[in-house]
Structure formats: structure tokens, C-alpha cells
């Protein structure tokens, strides 16, 4: 049990716990806040995986924008500030069953896969992940096309969202 493993376990448990709260807690604003903590845990996981850039972007995009958006949405879609009634639909047990079976299936498949126990090689010294990522994102030989497609998607989503949510007087 090395330090890294302890760190990982702590982070993972924290993340999973808050994730569980997200899907179970009755108060939706709390759910959104728990989502924030889950995402924060994921960001920490990225940091543990030496993907500092992704970690920060995770914080910026998810916590800074998406979570806030959720809170807004939660507050915009209720008449008063209380959540009335149960938060689970009537066949939630089936959903639980399915998700557990999904996890079981995934776990089962993972067992069958070799290279599970492989461990990470040390990052070569002087390897600037951010610069590499930047080059990969814009160099035509690499992923400029997916990148552009994603940007187009964002624009389309922006316009669509504005159009859909626009309140015609």
C-alpha cells in the first residue's frame, strides 16, 4: 500500500461517494453541488494521472460553467424552492438492477482482459504534455479535424440552445 495507492483510494472513494449522493439525494440543488464535488474529484484524478491541463480545464468547464448552469436550470424549473414528492420514478429498482448488472458485466469483461495490471511508465523528463496537446490539437497530421468538428458542434449547440430556450413573448 504505497502513498499513491492511498491517495487514489481516497480520491476515488470521495468521488464515488459524492457521485452516489448526486443520484440519490432528494434536494436537487444539493445534487448539483454534489456533482460539483464529484467533478472536483475527477479533476484530482486527472492531476494524479499527470494530466494537469485537463484537470484545470475540468474545473473551468465543469465547475465553472456546467455546474452553475445546472443550478440555474434547477432554480428556473420550479415554482417554489422546495422539492416535493419522491425523486425516484416508480421503477427505479429496475434501473438499479440494470446499472448493477452493467457494472458487473464491465467488471467481468475487465477480468478477461490482459494488460490490466500494467503500470504507468514514468513521464520522460522534459516532456511538456501541454505543448504536445496543443500541437496535436492543431496539427493537420493529428487531430485538427476532430477539433474543428467539436468547435462547429459547440457553435451549433449554442445557437440551438438559444433558439430552443428563447422566450417568445
Amino acid at each position: 500500500m504505497t502513498g499513491e495507492q492511498i491517495t487514489f483510494l481516497v480520491v476515488a472513494l470521495f468521488t464515488l461517494g459524492s457521485g452516489f449522493m448526486v443520484v440519490t439525494t432528494g434536494n436537487l440543488v444539493h445534487a448539483a453541488l454534489w456533482l460539483v464535488s464529484t467533478l472536483f474529484g475527477v479533476a484530482v484524478t486527472y492531476a494524479v494521472l499527470d494530466a494537469a491541463f485537463l484537470a484545470v480545464v475540468q474545473v473551468v468547464v465543469y465547475i465553472g460553467a456546467i455546474a452553475i448552469l445546472f443550478i440555474f436550470a434547477v432554480m428556473l424549473t420550479r415554482k417554489d424552492m422546495r422539492d416535493q414528492g419522491p425523486q425516484m420514478n416508480k421503477n427505479w429498482w429496475f434501473g438499479a438492477l440494470l446499472s448493477v448488472s452493467t457494472f458487473g458485466g464491465l467488471y467481468f469483461l475487465l477480468q478477461g482482459w490482459s494488460g490490466l495490471s500494467k503500470t504507468a511508465a514514468a513521464i520522460p523528463s522534459g516532456f511538456d504534455a501541454v505543448a504536445e496537446l496543443g500541437n496535436a490539437l492543431v496539427s493537420p497530421t493529428a487531430y485538427v479535424l476532430p477539433f474543428e468538428v467539436a468547435s462547429v458542434l459547440l457553435v451549433a449547440a449554442l445557437v440551438g440552445a438559444v433558439y430552443v430556450a428563447f422566450n417568445r413573448k
Binding site: 502513498g3 440543488v29 444539493h30 453541488l33 460539483v36 494537469a52 491541463f53 484545470v56 480545464v57 474545473v59 473551468v60 465547475i63 465553472g64 460553467a65 455546474a67 452553475i68 443550478i71 440555474f72 432554480m75 424552492m81 511538456d128 501541454v130
Partner: protein, 398 residues
């Protein structure tokens, strides 16, 4: 002598010696030293914060043609301590029906969002918390946490004014993050890195000369981030009785308040780092880290003073005007500026400095001029529209 060249390292080694001398494992010792460093930094920041309260009150009183705190101690220097004590011994109320946990977490987050910023601030060539190679983004990330704290505070205190204030504030912050991030990219383009220390080292010529417009937009976005006047609609006393932190009392309110002041000061510091060469001042920083710290603190104070100046000079802007100003004016200008700058930088790569400065500066000026012209014509149209309506209404009245 060696201590003065690299105080952090010397101190760290000394402590490391002591702790290991006590038979503490290496790792633990390092962690402990790290915590100590953080603790010291935060303590100093808090002291500075207390001082800032005094500065703020003095400056505002000057602006409003008053004397300001002048009873307690010389020039009222002890006044803030008195305030602190007052805040500490005040009753710590929690409104009924408030969401206790969130309600109590919010102020901490608010303070934290400011304090973690200082992890990436290089005080001197050798004195900086951590040299993230994504420092610029880190600023925005911390801002995101601040946003979160505000909405938490607003929602949890179960008060419609607080909620409205929080909504407005968050809307403003989320929107103004966009031009701010864009402007953070401009020093990044020049320095070729997001790391604060790299950005400073690359500033043989202050980046403000390369991109005055960028510096200006950054300042505006920063003020909006801070929620200070003219963008302080969130806590408009007359309309919202001080906005999201209305229900807070005692030291919790104090944390919001101090957090805001320190935030302003911090952004003054970032402004100086990104555009005014940070701790660099004609090789002064090479002489001695202390001088470097003095330089950057001075620059930060200048930035802070400018922010105060704006705050106490300008009037409050209506919320929709704020957002419209951001989305319809500031953000497009910022994007255009970013494109222009990137293009220029690519075109002028390798050309002599004076040429780059000249071309960049001119392009900035031209862009600003065009933007202002467009804005002016648009506002003229708006005004005509409004006046047309007014005349119609008056005609109806008569």
C-alpha cells in the same frame, strides 16, 4: 548573504535539517514544510488584507472628500483591527430555513478561491509557490470556485434578495470569464507559455506595449469578475440591500468582505504580472528578492488603486446593460484582438523588437478605434429609437 539570494530554499533546507534531525521521514518532513510555507504565506496575506481595509477606507474617503478613519492610532491605522474584533465578537446568526451546511461552506470557498490564486503568483525570481505551466488557466479555475461560492451563499441563505443578487453576480462572472480568458491568452501568445514565471521572464518589453487594448479589456473583465463598481449590480445597496451576502453577519460576512478586497488586490497583481512585467523593474529584481517583492507589491498596489479609482468614480450599470456590453461588445472585440495579435505575432516572428512593438501597438489602437466607432453608431441608433418612442409617448400624453 546566500539566504538573501534564495530565502525559500535556504529556509526549506534548514527546516528539513531540523525535522530529519527529529527522525521524521523525508516525505512527511516535506509535506510539513509545504504546509508551513502555505501557512506563512496565508498569514502574511491576511495581514495585508487587514491593511487593505484601511487603505480602501482611506482612499474612498479621499475620493468622497472626507478624512476617513483617523481616531484609532496614527491615521487610524489601528481602525481595521477594531473592525476585525467587532466582526469576531458579533453574534453569528443563521437565517431560518437556511441550508446550514452550504450556508457555512460558502464563505470559506469564497476566501479560498482568492487564497489559492496566490499559489501561482511569483513574488520574486526564486519565490513562488508552484510554477504551473498552465497558470493562466488556473486563475480562471479559481474564479470558477468563487462563482460557485457566491451562488451557494445566495441560494442557501433562503432570501429572495440574496438569490437574485447571486444570480446576477454569477451571470456577470460567467459571462466576463470569456473575454478575461481570451485576454489571458494574449500574454500567453507573446511568452509562448501559460506559466506565470515564464510570462514575466519574457517581458523585456512590457506586454502592455504590445497590447494596450488587451490590458484594458483584462482590467474591465477583472473588475466585473470582482463585482465592484461599475459592475456591482449584484450588491446594489438600494435595490438588493447588498446582494448575496445579505444574510451573513459577523466573521462570515467579514470573510466575504476581506475576500473581495484581497481579490481586488490580487487582480491588481495579476494585471501587473501579465502586462507590466511583474517583479521586473530594470534589473532591480536581480539585486535582491526583497526588492523584487517590493516591486511587485508596489505594482499590485497601483493596479488596486486604479480599480478603486474606477469604483469610486463611475456609476452603477444596469444588469442587462452589463451583459449586453459583455456579449455584444467586449467579447467580440476580445476575440478579434486575439486573432489580430496571433496573426501579427506569427507574421512578425523574428523581426526586431521596435518593429513588433510599433505594429502591435498600432494594430491595437486601430482595432480599438474601429470598435468604438461601431459601438458609437449602434448606440446612436438605439438612442434614436428610444427618443422616437419617447416622442410618440409624449404625443399620446398631449
Amino acid at each position: 548573504m546566500s539566504f538573501w539570494n534564495d530565502p525559500l530554499k535556504v529556509a526549506a533546507d534548514w527546516l528539513m535539517g531540523i525535522f530529519t534531525g527529529w527522525g521524521m521521514p523525508e516525505i512527511a518532513a516535506q509535506i510539513l514544510i509545504g504546509f508551513l510555507g502555505i501557512f506563512v504565506l496565508i498569514a502574511l496575506l491576511m495581514l495585508l488584507d487587514i491593511f487593505l481595509v484601511w487603505v480602501e477606507r482611506k482612499v474612498v474617503s479621499r475620493f468622497q472628500d472626507r478624512i476617513g478613519p483617523n481616531r484609532v492610532g496614527p491615521f487610524g491605522l489601528i481602525q481595521p483591527f477594531a473592525d476585525i474584533i467587532k466582526l469576531l465578537i458579533k453574534e453569528d446568526t443563521t437565517p431560518g430555513g437556511a441550508d446550514r451546511v452550504v450556508y457555512n461552506v460558502a464563505p470559506m470557498l469564497s476566501m479560498m478561491s482568492v487564497l489559492i490564486l496566490w499559489a501561482v503568483v511569483p513574488l520574486a525570481p526564486t519565490i513562488l509557490g508552484v510554477d504551473l505551466n498552465i497558470g493562466a488557466l488556473y486563475i480562471i479555475a479559481a474564479g470558477a470556485i468563487g462563482t460557485l461560492s457566491i451562488i451557494m451563499a445566495g441560494w442557501s441563505s433562503n432570501n429572495k434578495f440574496a438569490l437574485i443578487g447571486a444570480f446576477r453576480q454569477v451571470a456577470v462572472m460567467v459571462s466576463f470569464e470569456v473575454p478575461m480568458l481570451t485576454m489571458l491568452l494574449i500574454p500567453t501568445i507573446f511568452a509562448g507559455s501559460m506559466g506565470m514565471s515564464t510570462i514575466i521572464e519574457k517581458q523585456n518589453i512590457w506586454f502592455v506595449l504590445f497590447s494596450p487594448l488587451g490590458a484594458l479589456i483584462f482590467l474591465i473583465a477583472a473588475i466585473a469578475e470582482l463585482g465592484r463598481a461599475p459592475f456591482d449590480m449584484a450588491e446594489g445597496e438600494s435595490e438588493l440591500v447588498s446582494g448575496y451576502n445579505i444574510e451573513y453577519s459577523g466573521m462570515k460576512f467579514g470573510m466575504f468582505y476581506a475576500g473581495e478586497l484581497l481579490h481586488a488586490f490580487t487582480f491588481g497583481g495579476f494585471w501587473s504580472i501579465l502586462f507590466f512585467g511583474g517583479y521586473r523593474f530594470f534589473g532591480l529584481e536581480q539585486v535582491n528578492p526583497v526588492l523584487a517583492i517590493a516591486v511587485i507589491v508596489f505594482k499590485a498596489f497601483v493596479g488596486y488603486w486604479i480599480i478603486m479609482w474606477v469604483k469610486y468614480t463611475l456609476l452603477r450599470i444596469r444588469i442587462d446593460h452589463m451583459l449586453a456590453f459583455n456579449w455584444k461588445f467586449l467579447t467580440p472585440v476580445a476575440f478579434t484582438l486575439l486573432m489580430v495579435t496571433a496573426l501579427m505575432n506569427a507574421l512578425l516572428a523574428g523581426s526586431p523588437d521596435w518593429l513588433r512593438v510599433a505594429v502591435m501597438f498600432l494594430s491595437n489602437v486601430v482595432l480599438a478605434w474601429i470598435a468604438l466607432e461601431i459601438a458609437r453608431s449602434h448606440s446612436r441608433k438605439e438612442r434614436e429609437k428610444v427618443e422616437g418612442v419617447k416622442q410618440v409617448v409624449e404625443a399620446a400624453h398631449h
